[in-house]
C-alpha cells in the first residue's frame, strides 16, 4: 500500500477522519522500523510532536480551522532553527548548540499546522553531495543501502523516500535539495532566491542558500512551498513579491508551453543510461503537449567552477563565526584568544569544511581576489543574463538533475573534484537565482532513480511546479524502494 500524501493526511485530519496524534505516532513507528537501515534522523522530538499533534486535534474538536499542513509529520534538515532544540549542522563544532529562536520558514511551517518530528542528517555545513561529510551519522539511499542518498540534504531525501515522513525541508546552495531528491526518487524544490526566508538557517553561502521542500509527489511539494514562502523582514533578501497559489493551477497541464533544452548541456557526458532517461523525459514532455525548443546558455559549462569560487568565498567569511567563543565546541587549554580560535576550529571542522574554507580564503586573499572571486562574480553575472535571454525563447528549461543516478558510498570521498562535478546541472540554476525542481523520471539499469530538473524564470516557481505535475501524471513514477518496504 502506498503511504498517504501530505495533502491527503491534512485533509483527513481536518475532516476528523484521522487524528493528528495517531498520524504522528504512525510516523514514529515507521521511523523506528526503517531508520535503522536508512539512518536519516539525528534526533526525534517525540514529546513535543505528540503535544503539538494533540493541540491540533483539540482545535479541530473545538471547531477551529486548521492549516493546510494539519498534522503532517515533517523532518527538518539539521541546519534550521527550532527554538529550544539542538542544531548541529552535521558538525562537531556545533555540538550542544540549542537554537534560541525558530527559523522563519519553520515558523510558517508550524503556523500551517505541520508537525516537526525531528532533525535529519546532512553534509557538514551543507558542503557535500553524498551526506558522507556529516560528522554525525551515515545516511543510506533507501533504494540501495550501499549507495549514497546524495547531499547535502541527504537525510531529508532519504526520510521522505523511505516513507518515514511525507514531507521534509532541505536547503539548497548548489543542488543540495535537487540532487538528493533525484538520487532518492522524490520531488525536491529549490525555490527562487528570496522566495523563502533564510532567517534561522545556518548560513553557508548567503547569496545562494535557499530553503525548500522535499516530498513524494509534486502536489505535496507545492502545498509545502505555499506554506513556507513569503516575506520576512528578518531576512533582507527575502522578497515581498506576493506568493501565488501553487496548487490551484497545478493540474492545468503544459499544452503548448515552450520548454527548452540547453544546447551546451551535453548528454554525451551523462553516466550510464542517464542519457536515455533524459531522452525519455523529453518524449514524455512532448506527450504532455510541450513544444520543445533548443536554447543556448554557453556559460553553463563554467557553473561548477564559478560556483565553487563564490560559494566557498562566502563560506570562508560566514564560517568565521565558529571560533569557540559564543557557542559550540571550544578547545580545552588554549592560552590565548587566538589559540582558542585556531584550536577550536581545527578540532571542530571536518576535512571538507577545512578544504572549502581554505579555497574560499585563497580566492579572497590579496593578490588572488580579482583573478578568482572577481572573475567568478563577473561570470555569474553574465550567466544570469544568458538565462534571462534563454527565457525569452522558452517558458521553462529542462536538464537532467545529475549526470547519473546515485553513486556508491565511499566512491568519491577522496576525490573532491569528482564529487563537485555531480553538481554540474544544479549549480547554474543556483548562480542564476532561478527556481529549479527535480522530479523523478524513472530508474536506471541498476534500478536507481533518475531526476529531471525543470527551471523557470525568477518567481515563476508555480509554472515549474505545474510542468512537474504534468510530467509526473504522464510518467506515473512510484517511489517504492524495495529495501525499506
Amino acid at each position: 500500500m502506498q503511504p498517504l500524501t501530505a495533502e491527503g493526511l491534512a485533509a483527513a485530519i481536518r475532516s476528523g477522519e484521522r487524528n493528528a496524534v495517531d498520524t504522528v505516532e504512525a510516523a514514529f513507528a515507521r521511523i523506528e522500523k526503517a531508520d535503522g537501515s536508512v539512518g536519516a534522523f539525528l534526533e526525534l522530538w517525540r514529546d513535543e510532536a505528540t503535544e503539538r499533534a494533540a493541540g491540533i486535534d483539540s482545535r479541530r474538536d473545538e471547531g477551529l480551522p486548521l492549516g493546510p499542513l494539519a498534522g503532517v509529520p515533517t523532518a527538518l534538515k539539521d541546519n534550521m532553527s527550532l527554538a529550544g532544540h539542538e542544531l548541529n549542522c552535521g558538525s562537531r563544532i556545533l555540538a550542544g548548540y540549542r537554537a534560541p529562536y525558530t527559523a522563519g520558514a519553520v515558523e510558517r511551517l508550524v503556523a500551517a499546522d505541520a508537525v516537526p518530528v525531528g532533525r535529519v542528517n546532512m553534509d557538514e555545513f551543507a558542503m557535500g553531495s553524498s551526506c558522507e561529510n556529516s560528522a554525525l551519522a551515515t545516511t543510506r539511499n533507501p533504494w540501495n543501502l550501499a549507495m549514497a542518498p546524495g547531499g547535502s540534504s541527504g537525510g531529508s531525501a532519504a526520510a521522505v523516500a523511505a516513507a518515514e515522513v511525507p514531507l521534509a525541508l532541505g536547503s539548497d546552495t548548489g543542488g543540495s535539495i535537487r540532487q538528493p531528491a533525484a538520487f532518492c526518487g522524490v520531488v525536491g524544490v529549490k525555490p527562487t532566491y528570496g522566495r523563502v526566508s533564510r532567517y534561522g538557517l545556518v548560513a553557508f553561502a548567503s547569496s545562494l542558500d535557499q530553503i525548500g521542500p522535499l516530498a513524494r509527489n509534486v502536489r505535496d511539494a507545492a502545498l509545502a512551498l505555499g506554506a513556507i514562502a513569503g516575506p520576512d523582514p528578518r531576512d533582507s533578501t527575502c522578497s515581498e513579491e506576493p506568493v501565488s497559489d501553487f496548487l490551484e493551477p497545478i493540474e492545468d497541464g503544459i499544452e503548448g508551453l515552450k520548454v527548452g533544452t540547453i544546447r551546451e548541456v551535453r548528454t554525451s557526458s551523462l553516466e550510464g543510461d542517464a542519457a536515455r532517461g533524459f531522452e525519455q523525459a523529453l518524449e514524455a514532455l512532448a506527450r504532455c503537449g510541450a513544444e520543445l525548443v533548443e536554447v543556448s546558455v554557453p556559460l553553463v559549462e563554467t557553473a561548477v567552477a564559478t560556483y565553487y569560487v563564490l560559494a566557498n568565498s562566502e563560506a570562508s567569511a560566514n564560517l568565521a563565526r565558529f571560533d569557540g567563543s559564543r557557542y559550540g565546541h571550544r578547545a580545552a587549554g588554549a592560552r590565548s584568544l587566538g589559540e582558542m580560535y585556531t584550536d577550536s576550529r581545527s578540532e571542530g571542522f571536518g576535512p571538507e569544511v577545512k578544504r572549502r574554507i581554505i579555497l574560499g580564503t585563497f580566492a579572497l586573499s590579496s593578490g588572488y581576489y580579482d583573478a578568482y572571486y572577481g572573475r567568478a562574480a563577473r561570470i555569474a553575472g553574465a550567466l544570469r543574463q544568458q538565462f534571462a535571454d534563454a527565457f525569452e525563447q522558452a517558458e521553462l528549461l529542462v536538464t537532467p538533475t545529475s549526470p547519473g543516478g546515485a553513486f556508491r558510498l565511499g566512491e568519491r570521498v577522496d576525490d573532491p573534484l569528482a564529487m563537485y562535478l555531480s553538481d554540474v546541472f544544479t549549480t547554474p540554476t543556483s548562480l542564476a537565482g532561478i527556481p529549479g525542481i527535480s522530479v523523478p523520471c524513472g530508474l536506471d539499469s541498476r534500478g536507481l532513480p533518475l531526476g529531471l530538473q525543470i527551471l523557470a524564470r525568477p518567481f515563476a516557481d508555480g509554472t515549474a511546479l505545474r510542468a512537474a505535475r504534468a510530467f509526473e501524471r504522464e510518467t506515473g513514477f512510484e517511489c517504492r524502494p524495495e529495501p525499506v518496504q
Partner: protein
Amino acid sequence: MSLGVEEVRRIAELARLRISAREEATFAGQLSDIVDYIDQLREFDDGAASFEETETASDVADNDLPRPAAAAGPADLDETPLLDQFLDNAPASLDRFLLVPQVKATPGGDE
C-alpha cells in the same frame, strides 16, 4: 596553478585553521586539482558584466519595530530572557558575560 604545502599552510593560518602535515600534503594535491579546474574560467571572462548589475533580487529593509525576540518554542524557553538563552550556548560565561582566554598578550608570551 598549483598550490604548494607552504601556500596551503599560509592560507590555513589566515583562516585560523591548523592542519596536520599529512593533511597539508593531501590538501595541496586536492586544492591544486580544484584550482586548475577553476582556472578554466580565464577564457570565459571578458571583464564586462558585473554581478551587481544583473542582480535580480532587491534588498528589503526591516521596519525596525520592536517585537518579542523568541516566538515559537517550548513554553519554558519563552520565559527565559534571550540573553540567558544565548549564554546557555556559551562554552564559558561569568556574571552574564562571555568568558574567553586572555585577549592581550602578556610580555614574553606567544602572541
